[in-house]
């Protein structure tokens, strides 16, 4: 991964993490997403502008699993998030803020590592499709199309 640090693609993307589950909306595409477990931890660390290597370390420190597998899974997830335009490279010069990983459910005990899965929902996308203008009235206003907005 070329870039070492990413940030949430605001204001296009808005998000909230509640009880270990991140809900993420892309306001331009109409897609929304869910991340739980390791995925939600990675998301929260990205939100705090943590560098990728630090995110991998934080996950490895709190989860039991093969280090190489953890690194691959975390970087794969970040690439997916980037492909979905949810995060963008952070090339700012601002110094790193203190960041922290949310504690896992076992407190200080390591949790078994499970590769994060980005759940994507596209069922609202049609609401954002541009409404086609097929015909206009004699004053130039689009004629009503009752099929839109039912």
């Amino acid at each position: 991964m070329t870039f070492t640090r990413f940030k949430v693609n605001a204001p296009t993307v808005t998000h909230e993490t509640i009880d270990g589950e991140a809900v993420i909306i892309n306001l331009e595409s109409g897609c929304y997403y869910s991340l739980v477990g390791v995925g939600a931890m990675v998301w929260d660390l990205l939100y705090q502008h943590a560098p990728v290597n630090e995110i991998v370390t934080a996950i490895a420190n709190t989860h039991a699993g093969d280090a190489a597998e953890i690194e691959r899974a975390v970087t794969d997830l970040i690439q997916q998030l980037r492909a979905e335009n949810l995060v963008v490279p952070d090339e700012s010069e601002t110094p790193l803020a203190q960041f922290s990983a949310a504690p896992n459910h076992n407190g200080h005990q390591k949790t078994a590592f499970r590769a994060p899965v980005l759940q994507k929902f596209t069922d609202m996308q049609e609401l954002l499709l541009l409404d086609p203008i097929h015909d206009v009235d004699d004053m130039g206003w689009p004629k009503p199309n009752p099929e839109i907005g039912k």
Binding site: E21, V23, I25, Y32, M124, L128, M139, P142, P144, K150
Partner: protein
Amino acid sequence: MAAPQSAERNSFDASESSDRIAYFDATYELAQSAAPAVGGFINRTYTIAGLPVCLRFAGPALLSPITEAFQHLDVSHSSPLLTICIWDTASTGKKMPPPPWEGDDFLARGVIQGYNDDRIHTAFQHGSGAVNMLDAERNLAVFWVSSAEEMPYWEKGAPLRTILHWWLGRHQRQLVHAAAVGNSRGAVLIGGKGGSGKSTTALACLESDLLYLGDDYTVLKSDPFAMVYSLYNSAKINADNVERLPHLGEKISNPDRLDSEKALLFVHEHYPTQTVAELPVRAILLPRVTGLRETRLKKSPTAHALAALAPSTIFQLPRAGAEAFKFLAAIAKQVPCFTFEVGTDISGIPPAIEGLLAEVS
């Protein structure tokens, strides 16, 4: 017919804030000048989400199509905080000049590019052909449609939704795509996209002691605690679902058009004592049709409530975005969330909700 070329359009160029205000003023003046030909203005002031809002009709043509959904709300005698001027061309003879913007300025959700800023809000609703404008600083809005006859049935069920969404958002309230029913203990908010079972759940409660706040759109306030307001007393059901709710059969307002429309009914007309203006929110239900006879409740993660409420609200409403998302997250964090497995025996729905309200209140 092709859209008129730019040269035929009026002279507004909304590159400056003052231009947007001037266009709003011109549209507002048209509404004013439309009224005398049809007997002047007819005012109806309702308490909407706790706030007095005046609907100011240029003549009677749109009075019934728009006010039927608000009939359950208290008539307010306070000075209105918002006035919405409502007019049509067919009855008044007053034409709406051509739009001053180009075809590619119609953006997603009907937002008009160049005619929106912090103060002026402009959106075109393609389904009804309605122009919606709000001047948030003067608490003044304009709603125009070509004719009452062209208003689709669903617009009559949820009129002025865009303008109310904009304005209520500036008053610490959020219009939400969710149903709500409840009793003296409080309400359950029923979230989910179309077809998830919101309407069935809400309408199944009409033959019980539960009170009705809405089956599709309601209004929320989060501070100091989660509160849900009724907005419309209308209800829409898929025609093929009417059989499951036989108590509603004769109350449907459009029985002759069910081949092309959802069944629309106005709850207050038939259940006048069962509509209620506001209740505190005690829980969020996410209905799911299972095909099983029994209705069951299962605790669900809070994030699922947010995922059910936010996308279907935000992507329907012009200019809704991060603020609405944060607002709905704040609501979701305040109350427990449950998956509501809607049983085929709809008589089991009200007791399940009443039992839950007794448990969480």
